[in-house]
């Protein structure tokens, strides 16, 4: 296995996102720098209004930075047209939303097949892939033909994760995926995400919840549109990363040495 730390999927430098509103300009992100590697499970934490969702939209290529550079899987996204960004979302990115965002009248299976409509996936394969994705999130087969508003919240979120998986994306972004779920159900959803990380997918989860963050490999703290702090979770507990400017490799090595001494 190649050293994952040398294989960044996300490289962000000096990223700003400034909203123009009638009341004036709102700088939601003010110079974010970060690098996220393939098959990392990263949690982003921060107070309400700190810019987490804004960052997720930019990282998910749903929104463009006002200033700064974003390189996704080796491509500078500022060089891509809107259609190319849409295609990138269709093939490489999966979103999971706090409010699930399922089509209520469509069946579970239909909901999971929806992203494939925007890919070149042939009709014949779609249902098979949706079933595979639903099995991966552990939803029982008997719910597949249920309407998506006839299942429980935890089941809905697993369907939403299956939908995010079905196009086999490199990156899965989840904005407070457990925010509407009770602790036990949230735990189940997180376990599902961790299994995906183990299958070499990159997972970014936005959360308010320390408990959720403790499942991540790394936690980034954002405050007022800037990364303020960084923690790395090791089997022996959470370690504070004081200098987030330095490369992960060095830091991890340093922290491990520090923790061992």
């Amino acid at each position: 296995m190649s050293d994952s730390t040398t294989d960044p999927i996300i490289q962000v430098t000096n990223l700003h996102r400034i909203y123009e509103t009638r009341a004036g300009t709102v700088p939601a992100l003010r110079g974010v720098d970060c690098t996220i590697n393939r098959s990392e499970f990263v949690a982003i934490m921060g107070p309400s209004g700190s810019g987490k969702s804004t960052l997720m939209n930019v990282l998910g290529c749903l929104d463009r930075p006002t200033i700064g550079k974003y390189i996704f899987a080796g491509t500078d996204i500022s060089t891509l047209s809107d259609n190319q960004l849409a295609d990138l979302r269709a093939t490489s990115i999966g979103f999971v939303f706090q409010s699930f965002n399922l089509l209520p009248r469509a069946t579970v299976l239909r909901n999971v097949m929806l992203p494939l409509v925007y890919t070149s996936c042939p009709h014949k394969e779609r249902e098979q892939r949706a079933r595979t994705a639903l099995r991966a999130v552990g939803l029982e087969e008997r719910f597949y033909e249920h309407k998506s508003n006839e299942i429980s919240g935890g089941q809905m979120q697993r369907v939403a994760i299956a939908r995010a998986l079905v196009n086999n994306p490199e990156l899965i972004l989840a904005d407070e995926p457990t925010g509407n779920l009770d602790t036990a159900t949230g735990e189940m959803v997180l376990q599902t995400l961790k299994v995906l990380r183990d299958q070499k997918r990159t997972i970014i989860v936005i959360t308010h919840d320390e408990e959720v963050a403790s499942h991540a490999d790394r936690v980034l703290y954002i405050r007022d549109g800037l990364f303020a702090d960084e923690w790395i979770n090791t089997p022996s507990g959470a370690l504070r990363q004081t200098d987030s400017e330095r490369s992960i490799t060095q830091n991890r090595a340093a922290l491990i040495t520090e923790g061992g001494s």
Binding site: L62, R89, F95, N101, P115, Y118
Partner: protein, 395 residues
């Protein structure tokens, strides 16, 4: 996004809003059905007027020379204007026919030999009188089916060989034939006999009151009518102004212009309904776009291009319009055939049927697609232009 996905999405979305969709397409249904019903009734009316005549009638001219013409005048005209395939003359008269219960009055037409051929008339029973009958002034007649009905109680009765008494002298005239033609045709209640017989035995006048000519196919009827005018002016040594020529083509052309104008007016009125229907569709699509803002954001996040969103909403509005057009066609056709059935029931003598053409189906489809695109484009673009992030935040 393939056509199959587009149709599936459209089906799902329309069936989720059945009631609203049905109400919305009513304007289109009413517009299309009234255009279809009215135009097929107008076309049916035109067919009724022109269909009786047959195509050769467009080549027919009627000639009044200001003086009555004789057989030798007709021969001269035939030589002077060789573009005529046939020329026939007729003299009008009338006669009473008395039965034990009733007295009828019929018009009599004394005709030259070629009259029936020229008019394209056919005999239901019997045969045409010949040169011999004409020379010998035989008392032979051909009658219309209406006369058959009056005298023998049945339009289809074959009275050939029977005789009826006619005219001041109450002479016996033998029926040798019955001419085809239903109640709206002039021959229905006309008695035909050789012109010579009529002139010598009944009226005592010489010459034809009226002359008909049939122009050879391929010649311009209006030009032939002009040369007829100048020939007759020369022949009778009068002014062209005294010679009056009336062409059937002129009448058909005028009728066509009139009916086309009528159709245009009807279509314009129905277009208002289509326009209002189109606005209804646009309104519904705009509502649907704002209701489905989150769904649009979701689709964008899943990788839908703006063109996918545009197409999805356009397909929906076109489908709605086509559905409206389909029901419009069905109701229009039903309405037209119902009305023509009522006309035929009320006026039993007339054979009227609405003419339902394939062209109206094609036009309806084209019109519906156009309305769908015209009134669906703005909502569809509005949906596509929605910012994906904003739409996902939309409550």
């Amino acid at each position: 996004m393939g056509i199959r996905d587009l149709l599936h999405e459209t089906f799902v979305s329309i069936s989720a809003n059945k009631g609203r969709s049905i109400l919305t397409i009513l304007g289109i249904v009413i517009g299309i059905s009234s255009v279809i019903a009215l135009t097929s009734l107008v076309a049916g009316f035109r067919n009724m007027l022109l269909g009786e005549m047959g195509f050769s009638q467009a080549r027919m001219v009627m000639i009044w020379a200001g003086t009555s013409m004789t057989d030798s005048d007709l021969d001269a005209l035939q030589q002077g204007v060789p573009e005529y395939e046939m020329i026939a003359g007729g003299s009008y008269y009338w006669a009473n026919v008395t039965t034990p219960t009733e007295q009828y009055s019929y018009s009599i037409l004394g005709i030259s030999q070629s009259y029936f051929d020229l008019m394209g008339l056919e005999l239901q029973h019997g045969s045409m009188f010949d040169e011999e009958d004409s020379r010998r002034l035989n008392r032979v007649i051909i009658i219309g089916r209406g006369i058959c009905f009056d005298l023998f109680g049945n339009e289809d009765f074959n009275p050939v060989g029977q005789a009826i008494r006619l005219g001041d002298n109450q002479d016996q005239y033998t029926i040798v034939g019955v001419v085809n033609g239903d109640a709206i045709s002039s021959q229905y209640t006309t008695i035909y006999m050789p012109a010579q017989t009529l002139q010598k035995r009944m009226t005592g006048w010489y010459g034809y009151d009226q002359v008909w000519g049939l122009v050879y196919e391929g010649y311009d009827v209006y030009e032939v009518s002009d040369s007829t005018k100048s020939f007759l002016a020369y022949y009778f040594n009068t002014e062209e102004d005294y010679i009056y020529i009336w062409t059937m083509k002129e009448m058909i052309d005028q009728l066509n212009v009139m009916l086309a104008g009528f159709t245009v007016v009807l279509t314009a009125i129905a277009s208002i309904s289509l326009f209002v229907g189109g606005i209804g569709i646009m309104n519904m699509m705009l509502t649907s776009v704002s209701e489905r803002t989150r769904e649009i954001g979701l689709r964008r996040s899943l990788g839908a291009r703006t063109s996918d969103i545009t197409l999805q909403f356009l397909t929906e509005s076109i489908t709605l319009c086509l559905a409206g057009g389909f029901f419009g066609l069905v109701f229009g056709f039903l309405g037209a055939s119902l009305i023509s059935r009522i006309i035929s029931m009320v006026m039993t003598d007339i054979k009227f049927s609405a003419a339902i053409g394939l062209s109206s189906v094609v036009i309806a489809v084209v019109v519906c697609v156009t309305i769908g695109v015209a009134f669906g484009y703005y909502p569809a673009r509005r949906a596509a232009k929605l910012d994906p992030v904003e739409s996902l935040r939309y409550q």
